[in-house]
Each structure stands twice: as C-alpha cells, then as structure tokens.
C-alpha cells in the first residue's frame, strides 16, 4: 500500500481529508509543529553554543537577552537559546515515543479485552477504571522522585506506562460494538483468524479516535515532562529540557524573567499546536456534531 493510500484508509473518504486541510487550525498546527520539529532535529547546526557548557561562570551568569545571547544566559552561564533548541528534542522525543508506545499497548489490551470478553475483560477493565482514577502526575512524581532523576528512555517508558488506559477503553468499546456486526460475523464464517479480523476490520475502525487521542496525548506528555523537570525530577541535569530551563530561573522570576518566558512560550506553542490538531481531527472525523470539546475519558489522564 502506498503512503497516500494508507493515509486515505485511515482518514476515510476524501471529504474527511479535505475538511481537515481546510480547517485553519490544522494549517496553523502543522506549520508550528514543522518549525518545532525542524529546529529540534537541526539543533546541533542552529545552536550557537553547547547547551550544557558553562561559558564563563564569572562574567556571564544570568545575562539578560543580548546580541551574543539572544535569549540570555542562565545562572550557570549557559546559553538559553542553545538550551531551548536542544530542549525541544527532549520534549518531542518523550512525547512521540511515549504516545507511540502507549497507543500500541492500549490498542492491544483493548482489543484483547473486547475480543475475549468474560473474566479477562472484567479484570482488565476494572484495573483500567482504577488506574484512570489515580492522578497520573502523582504516580510520575512518586516514581521519578524515588529513583532520583531519570534517563530519557526510562522517562519515556514511564510516560507510556501511565498513558495507555484511556485508549484501551476506547478500543475495547469499539471492538465490542463491532464484534456483532454482519461483516465481522461474515469474516469469521469465512474462516478469518481473530488476528486477521483485528488487523483488517477492527483497527481501521478505531484508527480515527486513536489518532485524535494520540494528538491530545502528545500534548499531555509534553506538559507532564515539563512539570516534572520544573519540580527538578525530570531528565537528569545538565541535559537541557524546557521545564528544566524554567526551573533554573524560577526562584528569582522577577529578576530572571527570560528564563521563564521563552521556554514557557515554546511549551505553550507546541502543546497548543498538538491540541488544535487533535480538535481539528475530531471535527473532521465527526462533522455532524458541533465542534466538540475534550472527551472526559481523556480528561482523566491529564
């Protein structure tokens, strides 16, 4: 299957795609995300300094924005622009990685629960219910603070491990509804294996809501990662991350405003783009409704 056909099979009829592309939110979001992604990928070329090197701890700590340092320097005399560019890599890597993992896992669990049903389903869904009512941030804080600060991979795994619950519910509900439909019954009668039914018939039907959930999920993970870094338990210092830059200036916010303002705007713009894309996707998939707000199931994962 060529890429555009694959995209079409997920997005459904061409009308969905055109609705999506004619939505101003989509265009703004794609432009913003492209800029953020490019500046993260090419950070080594764009950054004027090494993000972790303390340039001159005697003469250059906490300098306001200037020509040499367009976004100023932090109390350790590191260049904030360089740190901001490299910090984008952390946010995007954790966001994309965690959501990709969480989606795969959530879809697998949801499909299993929906297909097998019975006791397996009951146990899995009771667990998911309970997990959804525990504040995600608290679990993250507990793990991150007990282990000290985490590396990039453990942090991504942790975000993924706490982010799959809502998707599994969604996929389970969809699988249950589809199980009784004629085309599934027909496929089963023709001797299709459960795996084949899942891949060919169920997954295309859950792709739309899963895609929306993924966009909102990335936004959420970026916010959570920034929050953990702000609390000093995100990725291990001196690695640059947006939340960590803010943390470096938070105690003296009235003097060192540039340490709060610029990384905060970076987070805000990126998260806004992801959320706007999620909203636009949802409206494109479901045009009968008035544009909808956020789903309470996903609110629970905030």
């Amino acid at each position: 299957m060529n890429p555009s056909a694959a995209l079409a099979s997920i997005l459904g009829p061409r009308r969905t795609l055109s609705r999506l592309l004619h939505d101003s939110r989509t265009r703004i979001a794609l432009v913003v995300l492209l800029i953020v992604a490019l500046s993260a990928v090419f950070a080594p070329l764009l950054a004027p300094y090494d993000p972790t090197v303390q340039l001159d701890i005697v003469r250059l700590p906490s300098q306001p924005p200037s020509f040499a340092h367009p976004l100023g320097t932090d109390p350790y005399s590191r260049d904030v622009l360089s740190r901001l560019l490299y910090g984008g890599r952390i946010s995007l890597a954790v966001g994309l990685g965690a959501v990709l993992l969480a989606m795969s896992f959530g879809i697998a669990i949801g499909a299993v629960a929906g297909f097998i049903g019975g006791a397996v389903d009951a146990v899995l869904m009771r667990f998911v219910d309970a997990a959804l009512s525990i504040p995600r941030l608290l679990v993250l804080i507990l793990v991150a603070s007990l282990w000290g600060s985490l590396g990039l991979v453990p942090l991504t795994l942790l975000m993924a491990g706490t982010g799959w619950f809502a998707v599994s519910r969604l996929v389970r509900a969809e699988t249950l509804a589809l199980r009784e439909r004629e085309f599934i019954v027909a496929a089963r009668a023709l001797g299709a294996s459960p795996m084949r039914i899942l891949v060919r018939h169920v997954l295309p039907n859950v792709a739309a809501p899963a895609l929306v959930a993924a966009a909102l999920g990335i936004a959420n993970v970026i916010l959570l990662e920034a929050g953990l870094s702000y609390l000093g338990i995100g990725v291990r210092p001196p690695t640059a991350s947006w939340g960590a830059i803010i943390q470096d200036g938070a105690e003296r916010v009235s003097d060192l405003w540039w340490l709060t303002l610029f990384p905060g705007l970076a987070i805000l713009v990126t998260v806004f783009a992801c959320n706007a894309l999620g909203d636009a996707l949802r409206d494109a998939f479901d045009p009968r409704q008035l544009p909808r707000g956020n789903d309470p199931t996903f609110a629970a994962e905030a």
Binding site: R126, D129, A130, A131, S133, I134, P135, R136, L137, L138, V139, I141, L142, V143, S145, L146, W147, G148, A219, L223, A226, G227, Y230, L231, G232, I233, G243, I246, A250, V253, S254, W257, T260, L261, G264, I267, L268, V271, F272, C274, N275, A276, D279, Q289, L290, P291, R292, G293, N294, P296, A299, A300, A302
Partner: protein, 323 residues
C-alpha cells in the same frame, strides 16, 4: 440507589487499596531506602543505619512489612517525617485544609465561569464569539500550570505589586492586625493562587460544558421549543442548559485529579503551604515517608471526591442508577 452506592463504594475502596499497594511496592523497589537517605551524613556508620532499619522494621520480610504498612495506614499512622521531625500525620493535618480551601474555591468559580462561557458560545454555534472563545480556551487548556502561575506572579506581584507573592498571611505583621485587617490580609493572599487555578480549570470545564450543550441541541424538545417561537437564546438558556448540566456533576469528579495536579504547581509557585508544596518540598528533601503519604492522601481525597460526584449525579438522574 443503595445498590448503585454500594457498587461505587466498592470501586473507591479498590482504587484506594490499589494506590496503597502500588505506593508500597514502588518505595521498596526503589534504590536505597528511607534510612540511607535520611542518615546520609558523614560520621554515621553502616552499623548505626542497620540499627535504625531494625528499629523501623525495615529488615523484616517484605510481606510482613506490607501487612504492617496496610494496618498502620488504615489506622492513620503514616510514619515519621525526617525533614519536619514530626509525625507525617500531623504535618498533613496542617496542610490538607489549606489545599481544600484553594481547590474548593477554584472549583466553585471555575464551574460558574465555565458554564457561562459555554452558554455564550452555544447561543450562536460557529459564530465569531464562539470561535474566539474556543481559541482562547484552547490556549488556556495548553498552558503549563506552573508557567501560568509564574507569569501571573511576575505580572501582578512583582511588576505591578498589587498582590502579595507568597504564603497565606503577611509574615510578622499579620498578628498585629485588627480582625478585619487579618481577614483582608488572608483574602489578598488567596487572590493570585485562586485566580490561576480557576483559569486553568475553567478552560477544561468550559470546553466540556460546550460539548454537553452541543449534544442536546439536536433533540426533539429543542426543535419543539424553537418551533413554539422561543428565541434561540432563551431555548439555550432555559431548555438546553438544564439538560446539559448533569454531565457536569460527573465531570467535577473526573477533573479532581487534574485539579489536584494543578494545585501542586500553583502551591509551589506561590509558596502556599498545602499538600502540593508539602509534596514538592518532600521531593527535594527526599523525605520518603512524607512523599508516599502525600501521594496516598491526595489519591484518597480524589477517589472520595469522584465517589461523591457519582452519587450526586445518580441522585439527580435516575437513569444513571439503572445502567
């Protein structure tokens, strides 16, 4: 109703049990133990640490420790805070009411504000006002909690020194104020944290209330109301809103985790000495008993809140009880 309540209560108990177990397991899986962190000082030998471990029962088998931890937690014995040098229970008893005040006030304000905004949006769906409110709400929804708090702090406590930047009362002078002076002092200290938390919560609530309204808009009774000659505005305010308010009760329960998280950051930024600041400081001090206890207490509060919201929703709407 009684069956529904029993079912929901059982679910809440399971959640709390799960949280306690996960907390216990995580603490014991983590590298090091509370003693090696609390006594990480020169001059303290390994033999002394071992003595302390025996005194706190940390040398016993895991199963035994687990049962004792459960028993203690059930009786409200949450251990000893190494950083405060006080029982964890007392530390939390001081902090919890302050957080409840903050979260309670913000919840009331944000629901009032959120519902008003949603109604204003739905009066002309797709109109200019609707779209602009939608954009602003999405922006607020995307703001990192701690960053909004920092920006509000910078603007309204430092650049324009209108409100006090931190704490619950003015240090020292508060004790010498008249009764009304003290009251005003307390209110002034509430303004920034409550405003920040209210803005954060309003974004989520309003987006949700709007979709609840949108869902009832195509109903037959709405068409009937409009056909009778009721103005669109009146139809939204009198007919749609009353039917769309019910999900908001459940929503109140669902947003408690997010609000608890928001309170953590807001408290840290404004040095508001509630549960959030307690947890944040406990992280810095690596005070394990205090960290685990504040996670535990917050989760229980959230579970209780959700239970309360569900029961209230069921009391208001018989359909929920049946399904």
């Amino acid at each position: 109703m009684r069956r529904f309540f029993a079912g929901r209560l059982a679910q809440a108990v399971i959640v709390v049990f799960l949280v306690t177990t996960i907390t216990f397991l995580l603490v014991h899986l983590a590298p090091g133990d509370p003693i090696s962190v609390a006594l990480d000082k020169p001059g303290v030998t390994e033999a002394v640490r071992q003595q302390w471990r025996e005194a706190f029962g940390l040398d016993r088998p895991l199963g035994e420790q687990y049962l004792r931890w459960l028993g203690n937690a059930a009786r409200g014995e949450l251990g000893w805070s190494f950083s405060f040098r006080r029982p964890v229970r007392d530390v939390i008893a001081d902090a919890l009411p302050r957080t409840l005040l903050l979260v309670g006030l913000s919840m009331v304000f944000s629901f009032a504000l959120g519902i008003v905004v949603a109604v204003l949006q739905t009066e002309r769906p797709g109109g200019r006002r609707d779209r602009w409110f939608g954009r602003i709400l999405l922006l607020l929804y995307s703001v990192p909690d701690f960053w909004l708090a920092l920006v509000v702090l910078l603007l309204f406590a430092y650049r324009l020194p209108i409100f006090p930047p931190s704490g619950i009362v003015a240090p020292v002078v508060h004790d010498y104020m008249s009764f009304s002076g003290r009251l005003i002092d307390r209110l002034l200290h509430l303004v920034l944290p409550v405003t920040t938390l209210t803005l954060l919560a309003t974004a989520a609530i309003s987006r949700h209330q709007r979709s609840a309204l949108a869902e009832v808009m195509p109903s037959d009774w709405m068409r009937t109301a409009i056909a009778k000659g009721v103005s669109h505005r009146r139809a939204v305010r009198r007919h749609a809103l009353r039917n769309a308010l019910l999900p908001s009760i459940t929503l109140a329960g669902l947003y408690l985790p997010a609000l608890a998280a928001g309170a953590l950051f807001v408290e840290k930024v404004y040095s508001w000495p509630g549960m959030g600041l307690l947890a944040a400081n406990a992280i810095v001090a690596r005070d394990y008993p205090l960290i685990t206890a504040s996670v535990l207490i917050t989760s229980i509060a959230v579970a209780l809140g959700a239970l309360l919201a569900d029961v209230a929703a069921a009391a208001a709407d018989p359909r929920i009880r049946v399904s």
